[in-house]
């Protein structure tokens, strides 16, 4: 088989490049913990109101000033709750699920983003380093009111 020398080099370089990307991403994900959202558990979206956790979504303080959990329901066409408050520098774990169709949850200006599917509770953590107002928006088409589906996170100075 005839392969041009330059072309052989080129292929070797592209394999090396690809391997470098793969390793970098793997290290970032599995060693440094820059991870994609994971599955918390499955739930029946029709029964969310019977569930002690989901009948009362919102912020739970786990360790004051250090760790918070946010339970969030996406439904047509709003998030519940629509406004939350957490202190700066605390680890915030978001648990998000849908009560009806597919939605998505993205906090603008951060890396937090996930698909929100009925039947599945997704989990992702984030630490806000700057105080201020962050909007979270629905980034998956969910019907006619999709563009108006958003909420606000108030990140306050720690006491």
């Amino acid at each position: 088989m005839h392969i041009d020398v330059l072309e052989k080099r080129w292929i070797q370089i592209s394999i090396a490049l690809m391997a470098a990307f793969a390793v970098l991403i793997g290290v970032a994900a599995f060693a440094w913990g820059v991870q994609v959202p994971t599955l918390e558990r499955r739930v029946d979206p029709a029964r969310l109101k019977d569930d002690p956790i989901w009948s009362n979504p919102g912020v739970r303080e786990v360790v004051p000033g250090k760790h918070y959990e946010v339970y969030m329901i996406a439904k047509v066409w709003q998030f519940e709750p629509r406004e939350i408050q957490v202190p700066v520098g605390a680890r915030v774990t978001f648990y998000v699920t849908s009560a009806d169709v597919q939605h998505a949850f993205k906090i603008v200006g951060t890396s937090v983003s996930m698909q929100v599917l009925p039947g599945y509770v997704g989990k992702v953590s984030y630490t806000f380093q700057e105080p201020g107002e962050y909007s979270f928006i629905c980034t998956e088409y969910c019907g006619i009111g999709h563009a108006a589906m958003y909420g606000v996170i108030k990140v306050t100075e720690s006491k």
């Binding site: 592209s14 990307f21 993205k106 698909q115 599945y120 989990k123 909007s135 006619i144």
Partner: protein, 550 residues
């Protein structure tokens, strides 16, 4: 290749009808793009559009996605593959009737799916994610569209394998080989969406099943959804490898590596669907990472393609007297709109490719997922690399099929306007996405838009207007070929490229089907079985909400 082969009338008619439907589809689909950019720029014309049936942004966007990304591409591609097999083998189809049957099944499917979209009953976007529910005949239409394309592809494979049997030991001509391979990829890819539609969506829309699992549906969809983009791209590559070198005045640099690249695309483009599901909770992260690795390995055949295409063009440019490191680029026949379209498409695709590697990078994806970055990306790829290449092909093909000369000056303007408009439009979309602007959203009506995004939305609008103007000129040129009666007649010889080296020297293992096909099927099973089993065992059945959603 002195002997001229004339396309038999039935094959010619079949090709022409595919092109007619494809061009009508992109004319309507592309026009709807105008209303999207206007909305983003703060000008809402949907009130006016509702008079002709498009009641809202999302209904228009559903049509835009379906007509551009599914109907235009599939019809153009099936026409091009048919031509490549027939003209490449210098042989009529085994049975033109089979291919006509496929065409009619496909077209019936398009009509069945288009009616509910037009009536605003299937405003589910071209991904039709459940549990949004469309009428059952929308799903039936999709199924027929896919099955019709299979029938056509089987007709092509039949013709091709009969040729091989009659010509043992001969390398099959590259354009015919690559076209059948493209269909094979489509066959493997569409199994996923066929399963989604026939097992999950259609029975559910008929009320036969209590509900379905949305993650399972998404997984089957993206089994299809990613290789779909290779079904779009490979025909463009066939043109870059198999025609463009000749159009530029040169030869294909390496027939061997062209075939190897195509086999690698077949192997690597299906078992990678989870890279569209990096942020889906229901797919285990390890599997998402495995698909990320497989996705990144597509870099290798892509870089091979870049090398071979550039080397072929450089060979052509130097033969035309181009000197120095880059002088050969200027020496290429830029004045030929067909060549200019493909060169610009290829150039823009470099940026599409870089963006693709970024999208594929697992956790990096979190920043841009579901943002306008992604729309910016696929307008560079399917919207330009593919569509502008198809337009370029059209510019020699339509004169060949109709005998009418190409309006060269108009076509030149068309190509440049489209490319420049797209570059501006897409750059703005990418930048907006990095700021966090969501895709699939009428940004002009969203309450959360910060003032910093306005400048970019305006840039998107300006680029988009140039782009729409370029697109409109293409429709004008297509209409000229359909309706005008110019006095002048032309005869065009299809510019099929020869390879620098006799293809007979290409090793036989690169022109052998079984091991590659077995390998591709094996990889798909390996990449999907564990996750599919897990999803099926843990299904959460979900039903459609009772309130109207749009």
């Amino acid at each position: 290749m002195a002997e001229t082969f004339r396309l038999p009338p039935s094959e010619k008619k079949l090709i022409v009808w595919h092109l007619v439907i494809g061009v009508v589809a992109i004319s309507i689909g592309g026009s709807l793009g105008l209303f999207q950019i206007l909305n983003h720029g703060g000008i809402d014309w949907y009130g006016w559009l509702s008079k002709i049936g498009i009641k809202n942004y999302y209904q228009g966007l559903t049509l835009h996605g379906v007509l551009n990304a599914i109907v235009w591409t599939t019809y153009f591609i099936m026409a091009f593959l048919t031509f490549n097999v027939v003209y490449g083998l210098k042989q009529p189809l085994k049975s033109a009737k089979v291919n006509w049957l496929g065409f009619w099944v496909m077209t019936l499917g398009v009509v069945l799916a288009a009616i509910p979209i037009w009536l605003n009953q299937a405003t589910v976007l071209y991904t039709f994610y459940p549990p949004m529910l469309a009428p059952w005949f929308f799903y039936l239409g999709l199924a027929l569209l896919v099955v019709g394309s299979w029938i056509e592809g089987w007709g092509l494979a039949w013709t091709y394998f009969a040729w091989r049997k009659a010509n043992p030991g001969q390398r099959s001509p590259f354009i015919a080989f690559a076209s059948v391979l493209t269909f094979l990829l489509w066959q493997l890819a569409t199994i996923g969406v066929a399963a989604e539609v026939l097992i999950l969506l259609l029975p559910w829309s008929l009320g036969l099943t209590p509900g379905l699992d949305v993650e399972l549906a998404r997984t089957l969809f993206w089994w299809f959804g990613h290789p779909l983009v290779y079904f779009w791209l490979l025909p463009a590559y066939i043109s870059w490898y198999g025609y463009l070198p000749r159009q530029a005045g040169g030869k294909l640099f390496s027939d061997t590596l062209a075939r190897l690249a195509f086999w690698l695309f077949l192997l690597l483009s299906v078992p990678v669907g989870f890279h569209h599901q990096y942020l889906d909770p229901g797919v285990p992260p390890t599997w998402r990472y495995i698909h990320a690795l497989l996705t990144l390995s597509v870099v290798v055949p892509s870089m091979m393609t870049l090398f071979t295409v550039v080397a072929s063009l450089e060979y052509a440019g130097r033969k035309r007297g181009g000197k120095g490191l880059l002088g050969w680029i200027r020496a290429l026949p830029w004045g030929d709109p067909s060549v200019a379209a493909q060169l610009l498409a290829g150039l823009i695709f470099v940026f599409g490719g870089i963006g693709g590697v970024i999208n594929a990078s697992y956790n990096v994806n979190m920043i841009l997922h579901n943002t306008t970055w992604v729309s910016g990306h696929f307008h560079l790829t399917v919207g330009t690399a593919v569509t502008l290449t198809f337009i370029g092909i059209f510019y020699w093909w339509a004169p060949y099929l109709t005998g009418k000369p190409l309006p060269v000056k108009l076509a030149r303007v068309q190509v440049w306007l489209y490319a420049i408009g797209m570059a501006i439009f897409s750059q703005a979309m990418h930048a907006l996405g990095l700021l966090g602007a969501p895709r699939r959203t009428p940004l002009g009506n969203a309450p959360y838009i910060p003032p910093e995004w306005q400048g970019l939305l305006l840039r998107e609008l300006i680029g988009g207007i140039l782009l729409v103007t370029g697109g409109t000129l293409f429709i004008v040129i297509a209409a000229y070929f359909a309706f005008a009666k110019p006095k002048e007649r032309v005869t065009v010889e299809p510019p099929v490229a020869e390879a620098l080296q006799d293809p007979q020297l290409t090793p036989a293992w690169l022109d052998t089907w079984r091991p590659w096909v077995v390998g591709a099927v094996f990889l798909v099973l390996l990449a999907y079985t564990p996750v599919l089993l897990d999803l099926v065992q843990n299904m959460v059945l979900v039903t459609a909400p009772r309130i109207p959603l749009w």
